[in-house]
Amino acid sequence: MRVEGAACVNEPREQSVLRLEGVGKSLGGRRILNDVSLSLRKGELKVLIGPSGAGKSTLLQCANCLIRPDQGEIFLDGERLNQHNSGQLRLFRRQVGMIFQDFNLFDHLSAQGNVSIALEKVRGLSRREAGERALAELARVGLADRAALYPAELSGGQKQRVALARALAMDPRAILLDEPTSALDPELVGEVLAVIRDLAAGGMTMLMATHQMDFARALADEILFMDNGRIIEQGGPDVLLRQGAGTRTLDFCTRLSLELAGRDGLKANGLELLP
């Protein structure tokens, strides 16, 4: 039983916005996630890294209940989410934004339509209000002049910024980002990271899976290293990525940067690595 008066005394700053406790998921008899717990406090940016197949994507989708975890609990602002109440679930998802690797924009709607549709249909704004709010959000990600264009007419970086505007328009308590720059050409990565950097500076609470180690090093409050469906290491980048830290995280990052350097080297010589 929670005592209202007592709870207010020491909670305001310390209470987590989004908290996962002992979350697990099996798919097709395979354990994809195993007893994962994490919490995001207001304004925190945590970065998930790890080899592919580690369960990062599944974890993010479980955190938004796009995949229903079969174990564990999810809390938003301290309130336990009842996964089986579809009304509560929709309200929860509305407050936790999701950014996908492959954007998932609605193909039949303009950039503005993509942002305004949920404002209109889910939040019940009038068409005019929704349109204006959508324009404001597009301006925030630097796409005010692209509002009338359709997804097929936008670059990958622009599509991902529209997706960010779409999530932001819902006034989310937190945003989950599933490798938001992995599907982008290298020269387009920067514009998307810049938007995420601005969000972090503006105090948005975020959990992001990425391979952009420089970004993680510079901006993450904490790095969570995942493998085999578990969080194996976690801590600030200065701790996990310190020279000679001897962590799995550092080892992974070193190999990642060597691979990238190798690939760039081949590219410079006019060669491409086979996939």
């Binding site: 492959d102 193909d107 889910v122 097929a152």
Partner: protein, 222 residues
């Protein structure tokens, strides 16, 4: 050329037939399209028993000649105690048959909508119904439109089979007049022009709708 025969005999008779044809085509096209949309969606996303039922329906109504279907509706149903007049039997037959064809176009279109968009809609807090209405349906409609338009043009032509259920429309009137006057070439040439006008009009309207709903780059596979 005997213009008086056209003006005094053929056109008045064919105009009467045209009115009957339109009375058959308009409800059949509308109901067939609506039924095909629901059926196609059910066949794409329904539970497996519904999908199977839809597949059987489609196989049946696409696989049996329309002539046979009309005879069944008009001559066989009364044996089961169900009496349909000629007009209703024709409209029902056209609707059932064209729904089967439409459902095939709709199913293909619905399945080609990129699934990630459903997850995006879900992540924004949309309910399954909202996702269906605002994400799935508009895209399915656009993708299915060319095929469905084609089916409507077919329907205009196979509506001539209504004479089998004693429903005298364009072709029926032409037939009666021709058998009275023995001027088959003129009469059927004129009837052909009537059908051509109908199908051209339908194509024009469908083309306009397609143009109006056009979204840059949409529906092209990269």
């Amino acid at each position: 050329m005997d213009w008086n025969f056209y003006l005094n005999d053929i056109f008045p008779v064919l105009n009467r037939g045209l009115r009957m044809s339109l009375a058959l085509i308009l409800p059949s096209a509308t109901l067939g399209l609506a039924g095909g949309f629901v059926l196609g969606m059910a066949r794409a996303f329904g539970p497996s028993w519904l999908r199977k039922a839809g597949d059987v329906y489609t196989a049946l109504f696409r696989g049996v000649p329309l002539v046979v279907q009309l005879f069944m509706l008009y001559y066989a149903l009364p044996r089961l105690g169900l009496y349909l007049d000629g007009f209703s039997a024709a409209v029902l037959g056209f609707t059932l048959c064209s729904a089967a064809y439409h459902s095939e176009y709709v199913r293909g279109a619905a399945l080609s909508v990129k699934q990630g968009q459903f997850r995006a809609a879900q992540a924004l807090g949309m309910s399954p119904l909202q996702t269906a209405l605002y994400v799935l349906a508009p895209q399915t409609m656009r993708r299915a439109l060319p095929g469905c338009g084609n089916e409507i043009v077919y329907l205009i032509k196979y509506s001539s089979l209504a004479y089998l259920t004693t429903c005298v429309e364009l072709t029926g009137e032409a037939k009666v007049l021709a058998s009275q006057t023995y001027r088959y070439p003129e009469i059927f040439m004129a009837a052909g022009v009537y059908y051509l006008a109908l199908t051209s009009l339908a194509s024009l309207v469908l083309g306009k709708i397609e143009k109006r709903l056009r979204v840059p780059g949409f529906g092209r596979t990269i």
